[in-house]
């Protein structure tokens, strides 16, 4: 009996040692990958930061309105955020690669999904950034045109342009990420419909006086202009 217990124990210790010996190289590979990943991610971060600074990414981000969002959220400048994000993404990629080397069943599939998801994440980020840039550009263009044409409430017009573009961009981004596609589609439809309905109601009921003032202003000004000399800038 005693010998049997000793035999079982020694067998178990043997198997443990064999298992450990089997996993140790993989663990070492994982650790190496982790360290190498950190080094690679660090180099990528430094390189990316330099490139982004070279192309004045912070200014682009400021123009896109992304910098204001970051400031409000007490986050560092856009260059820093992007380079840190890419650092973590690269490192996480290496860590997951290391974990997959361990050969733990079930985890492999999840890691595969993560790598499959990465291109979509990048495309979504790209769409988001340029969407914000477009929203900023067109809202500013609307603001300038409205101010120079002496149209009432230019900021409201500019905000409406920005909101419509951002809502549209967000729906495209979520669709790209595959997150709650149906919900986003419905949400976009509701938001867009509500905006249009709101504008229609505002124009028809809420903005009745404003419209009246606007028309009066136009009418009165036109009458005045008949008695005025026009200034020629050139």
């Amino acid at each position: 009996m005693r010998e049997m217990i000793i035999s079982e124990l020694s067998q178990a210790a043997h198997e443990l040692a064999r298992g450990f010996a089997h996993y140790l190289p993989r663990l070492i590979v994982m650790l190496i990958l982790g360290f190498a990943g950190w080094a690679a991610a660090y180099v990528v971060k430094i390189l990316l930061r330099s490139i982004l600074r070279l192309i004045h990414f912070d200014r682009l981000s400021e123009n896109a309105g992304a910098s204001q969002l970051l400031t409000k959220a007490a986050l560092p400048p856009a260059t820093e955020v992007v380079s840190r994000f890419v650092f973590w993404l690269v490192w996480l990629g290496f860590i997951l690669l290391g974990v997959s080397v361990l050969g733990i069943l079930g985890l492999q599939e999840q890691i595969g999904r993560f790598f499959f998801f990465l291109p979509r994440l990048f495309v979504a980020m790209f769409l988001m950034f340029f969407g914000l840039l477009a929203a900023s550009f067109f809202s500013r263009a609307a603001l300038l045109a409205a101010v120079n044409a002496n149209v009432p409430s230019p900021k409201l017009l500019s905000l409406a342009v920005r909101s419509i573009i951002i809502v549209f961009v967000l729906s495209v981004v979520f669709e790209e990420l595959g997150l709650a596609e149906q919900t986003m589609l419905v949400a976009f439809g509701i938001a867009f419909g509500a905006l249009m309905l709101g504008l229609a109601i505002a124009f028809g009921i809420g903005g009745r006086e404003l419209a009246q003032q606007f028309l009066e202003k136009r009418f009165v000004r036109e009458k005045k202009e008949a008695n005025e000399d026009e200034l020629s800038p050139l």
Partner: protein, 422 residues
């Protein structure tokens, strides 16, 4: 000769038929049927009277007129000019018209005229505006003679203007080009000007015609190219110019045509203008300006309102362009009553210099920078109008001179802004 490819075969054929010429008159048009007939007759009369022995051609570059303008140009016979004028043609006077596109574009129109001048080896050329109702045959002689007889490369016009006419020129283009390049040219953006075939050919080769961002404003680039190329330039007084249709409300396009090219020229011209201090008067035939003082009804309240609205509504845009101190001063002015309103020469010069530096660095879209200048210009125009409302011609000139000197005095500030944004 590379420009041949840009011209149509038909136009080239017509140019070949003309052969070499001494004088070329360029006429860029677009729906100018109202004025073009009398202008072509005046040009023909001018050629017959002042240059009867020269080989001359009128080149009409049309931007897609739908009112028969090109037909009017080519249809006017030299016999229409002769009756009762004692003028005799010693040579054939050609008139050629070409359509360069379906919409007007001064860049392409001038390129067409310059290409034709180069192909015909014209010695002296003149570009005439198709919009004026007071053009005289003598203008042709005044613009061409300095080129033909005295070897000038560019002859700029000087006009008799109302004191509140051309405020963008008196309050921005003239003071700024003068401060930048040290040359006093009253009309840097001219629609009538004379030039030598040599300088025209040089500009044709050097200008970046293919650059789509350049847009319009080639007239201003032409003047600046003459200055920076150290060509011989002079001014000549033409007289009063009246437009058939005033384009008072077209401030933003006017800014795009003038201020845009001026700001964009500052980057390549930096080595030259950064070394210039002060300014010198250039050779001028006749007075360099004359001022009309007729009463004018201007809605000053509206100008002030548009300025104030612009300053408050465009605050986010101005934050990217202007320094905090300048923006603060503008906000203070925007809050003033009409009686106290004063946009000083110093603040205006600083504003323009900060805009120029921001334009160079493209802090936001360059076109947006130009557009956002419109409300501020209205504020400056209001101050100029208020200052000179009851002023004599001398007072008006004195105020323009004060503004010019302010631009010259603050030039180190421009350099500082230019470098600080690098």
């Amino acid at each position: 000769m590379a420009e041949e490819t840009f011209l149509t075969d038909d136009f080239l054929r017509q140019l070949i038929n003309v052969g070499e010429v001494d004088i070329l008159v360029g006429l860029p048009t677009h729906n100018n049927a109202k004025t073009i007939g009398s202008i072509v007759k005046t040009i023909q009369e001018g050629i017959l009277r002042w240059f009867p022995r020269e080989r001359a051609v009128i080149i009409n570059a049309d931007g897609g007129s739908r009112d028969g303008t090109p037909e009017l140009v080519t249809g006017i016979s030299i016999d229409d000019v002769r009756p009762g004028s004692n003028l005799n043609a010693l040579r054939t006077l050609h008139a050629i018209s070409t359509r360069y596109g379906n919409s007007p574009e001064s860049k392409t129109a001038i390129r067409t005229i310059l290409s034709a001048a180069e192909l015909l080896q014209a010695k002296a050329c003149v570009v005439m505006s198709p919009e004026s109702s007071t053009i005289e045959g003598e203008w042709l002689a005044k613009l061409l003679r300095p080129v033909r007889n005295e070897g000038y490369d560019l002859v700029s016009p000087a006009y008799r203007r109302h004191k509140f006419e051309g405020l963008l020129i008196t309050n921005l283009l003239y003071p700024m080009t003068r401060a930048l390049y040290g040359v006093r040219i009253r009309e840097p953006y001219a629609q009538e000007f004379g030039f030598s075939g040599r300088f025209g050919g040089e500009f044709l080769t050097q200008n970046k015609w293919a650059d789509a961002t350049d847009g319009d404003g080639t007239e201003l680039r032409f003047t600046l190219a003459a200055i920076t190329g150290q060509h011989r330039t002079c001014q000549v007084f033409l007289g009063q110019k009246e437009y058939i249709e005033r384009r008072g409300s077209d401030l933003v396009p006017a800014l795009r045509q003038t201020v845009g090219p001026l700001f964009s020229a500052m980057e390549p011209d930096f080595p030259m203008w950064s070394a210039v201090a002060g300014s010198q008067p250039g050779p001028t035939l006749g007075p360099d300006h004359e001022v009309l003082l007729d009463p004018m009804r201007i809605n000053r309240k509206r100008l002030r309102e548009m300025f104030s609205t612009g300053v408050s509504e465009l605050a986010s845009v101005f934050q990217s362009i202007l320094s905090p101190s300048t923006l603060e001063e503008l906000r203070a002015i925007a809050g003033m009553d009409e009686a106290d309103f004063h946009y000083s020469a110093e603040l205006w010069a600083k504003t323009i210099y900060e805009f120029a530096a921001s334009y160079q660095k493209a802090v936001i879209s360059r076109d947006h920078i130009i557009q956002s200048l419109a409300p501020l210009f209205r504020g400056r125009a209001l101050t100029f109008i208020t200052e000179n409302r009851n002023g004599s011609a001398e007072d008006v000139e004195k105020n323009i001179e004060i503004l010019c000197l302010e631009f010259e005095r603050l030039k180190p500030y421009l350099l500082q802004m230019w470098k600080s944004r690098e």
